[in-house]
């Protein structure tokens, strides 16, 4: 009898796609702690991305440019609408806003060094401007955030541009939290709060609410800075057509549009993964809004959220962006999540490439921490050199593709240079499915 039973083929254990091991682990973690998971970074779920687009190189109908002989320009001018002193960058890849507090002082210095060496700008973050950052950044964009931590008119006047942050792709509609363990004496002093307490960043500005108010706020900032520097408006990707329209009507010089793959220093995982639009889904509506207003290329569009390669840069620009911004990729270039720290990542219960508990201040790479011993592991000069190299590679890659498409400037890339690999990407971008001249929503 026993032998007969063991001879019956058994059903193999099947893991539920809905209740997968990671999902179940999160349920158990929530049940044990009673609190949601907080982490850094952007959306980790797979969403349609630049990988779902391909370039159509030149052939008979279009001729390419010679890779090592013919120029492909990369410069970009930002803030030409109202500012007396627009920002001129050598490359269309900027460094996104990341705060001193979330990042160490040396890490901010390295961002400034690398960006300046590559001929581009870097950006402050919540918590204000540090002298190191200003000193090492040839072009520095000053973020004007809801918390106004560290915000003062002296630093405002030192900035090469002002970026009013309405939202960011990782958490559109959400604020932030810098946990007490990262509040060193210096961070506390800059933010006018006691050391060691959680510092909450509000989700909306304290002295304006709607687009009509925003227009007046922009007027005030221009009056204070003498109409000299560009004013950017940063929005998280949710309703890009309407938000871009309102940003232009409020008087922005530049719109910074951040998709859901864009990172944050810390927020709820449920927020990062479930709120906002994939970056490629944001670009077409924003460009359409600018075109409908007759402002495309007059109000510049910077796209961010998951930019990793020169191909991503070129694809964003072909869709109509004037420039892109990188945050997560810049941190990786500095050394974040480097496998050389694998033993220490494992001690923290994670592995290199997956480490995202930046809010805890225990970063083995010494970048997202205020711990003096960990910070000492990071060399800002070497970090700056690595970032410069990476920015140059991004530029070279984008130029390579642009030349293959017959373009003598990255800005000459156009949607007609692209095709979509998937129906989803075609629908989101309005770029025809590969091998067709059709995308979902387009009539036959």
């Amino acid at each position: 009898m026993k032998d007969e039973k063991s001879a019956i083929p058994r059903t193999e254990p099947i893991q539920s796609a809905t209740f997968s091991n990671p999902v179940n682990a999160e349920i158990r973690r929530a049940a044990a702690t009673g609190i949601y998971d907080i982490r850094g970074g952007g959306a980790k779920r797979k969403v349609p991305h630049f990988d779902d687009l391909l370039f159509l190189g030149a052939s008979i109908s279009r001729y390419p440019l010679e890779g090592y002989r013919e120029k492909c320009e990369t410069s970009v001018k930002l803030g030409t609408r109202f500012a007396a002193n627009p920002i001129e960058l050598d490359i269309p890849v900027t460094i996104a806003g990341m705060s001193f507090g979330a990042l160490s002082g040396p890490a901010k210095e390295a961002l400034g060094r690398g960006a300046s060496a590559a001929g581009t700008s870097t950006t402050t973050g919540d918590g204000g401007m540090t002298p190191e950052e200003r000193g090492h950044s040839s072009k520095l964009v000053y973020q004007y955030l809801p918390s106004r931590y560290g915000m003062n008119p002296d630093d405002l006047r030192k900035a090469d541009a002002i970026e009013i942050v309405v939202g960011q792709g990782a958490k559109p509609g959400g604020g932030g939290m810098l946990l007490g363990q990262k509040i060193s004496d210096r961070v506390a002093e800059m933010r006018n709060l006691p050391k060691g307490i959680d510092q909450r960043s509000a989700c909306r500005h304290p002295d304006w609410t709607g687009p009509d108010d925003l227009e007046i706020k922009i007027l005030e900032l221009r009056e204070i800075t003498g109409w000299k520097v560009p004013i950017y408006l940063k929005i998280g990707g949710t309703r890009p057509y309407f938000d871009t329209t309102l940003a232009v009507k409020a008087g922005a010089d530049v719109v910074v549009l951040d998709g859901m793959q864009g990172g944050t220093a810390a927020t709820q995982d449920v927020f990062i993964e479930n709120v906002g639009l994939p970056t490629i889904a944001c670009i077409r509506p924003a460009v359409q809004a600018l075109q409908d207003l007759g402002m495309h290329r007059k109000v510049q569009l910077i796209v961010s959220g998951g930019i990793r390669t020169g191909a991503d840069v070129a694809k964003a620009m072909a869709m109509g962006a004037d420039a892109v911004a990188i945050g997560s990729a810049a941190l990786i270039a500095l050394g974040d999540n480097d496998p050389k720290w694998e033993t220490e990542y494992q001690k923290l219960g994670t592995t290199s490439g997956a480490y995202d508990d930046w809010h805890e201040g225990l970063d083995p790479a010494g970048i997202t921490t205020q711990d003096p011993e960990l910070m000492a592991r990071f060399d800002p000069i070497e970090g700056g050199r690595r970032l410069k190299n990476y920015l140059k590679v991004l530029t070279l890659e984008a130029q390579t593709i642009a030349r293959a498409c017959g373009k003598n400037h990255l800005h000459n890339l156009e949607p007609e240079d692209l095709c979509a690999l998937t129906l989803e990407a075609a629908a989101m971008t309005g770029i025809p499915l590969a091998g067709t001249n059709w995308y979902p929503g387009k009539g036959y």
Binding site: L179, L193, P206, D207, W208, L219
Partner: protein, 227 residues
Amino acid sequence: MQTFDLEQNDLRTLNATLHAQKTNTNQTAWNIINPRGSHAIAVGLDAPIEVTVNGSTGYYCAGMNQQATVNVKGSVGPGVAENMMSGTVIIDGDASQYAGATGHGGLLVIKGNASSRCGISMKGIDIVVHGNIGHMSAFMAQSGTLVVCGDAGEALGDSLYEAQLFVRGSVKSLGADCIEKEMRPEHLAHLTELLTQAGSDAKPEEFTRYGSARQLYNFDVDNAGAY
């Protein structure tokens, strides 16, 4: 006394003229006439000059003020003296929302009433309101002092950090983590000084002090209902 007529000249010229006083401070007294509710009047000043605005203003009057004394002979729109760093701003009439928002220093005096969110996220500024203030005032206020000679609206001091609040009249309700606190001699002395500076004859001992219970300083799931 220099007179600047906003009916004859534009806002840009006004602010540029006042900003230029930083290097040319022999013209220390300015009289602005016909403000007609304009926004962003006398913003970003950074010199020890005295500016009188004869009439009511729109948004952000005296925003980010440093060193200057600005006196509005009328009422002001939202965000008066927002992010002020130093100096003195005196409003003879009423103030709309967000008065003194995120201010880091200096003294803001409102001789009438102030609307909602007065002193929101204040970071060191002192604000004295002779009349009443609206709801959600001193929300997430970090440091500095808010003195209210009249009544306060709902949710006073919600999510308060280290700012000190003094109210003479009634408080409709306190916000999360804001509690009544003992008035000690040092508080009475500080309050007396502010009332004197603000030209108020209210008696310090008639006020009640409020401050943070400091229960929400570090996230605790047991306090989730308070957020």
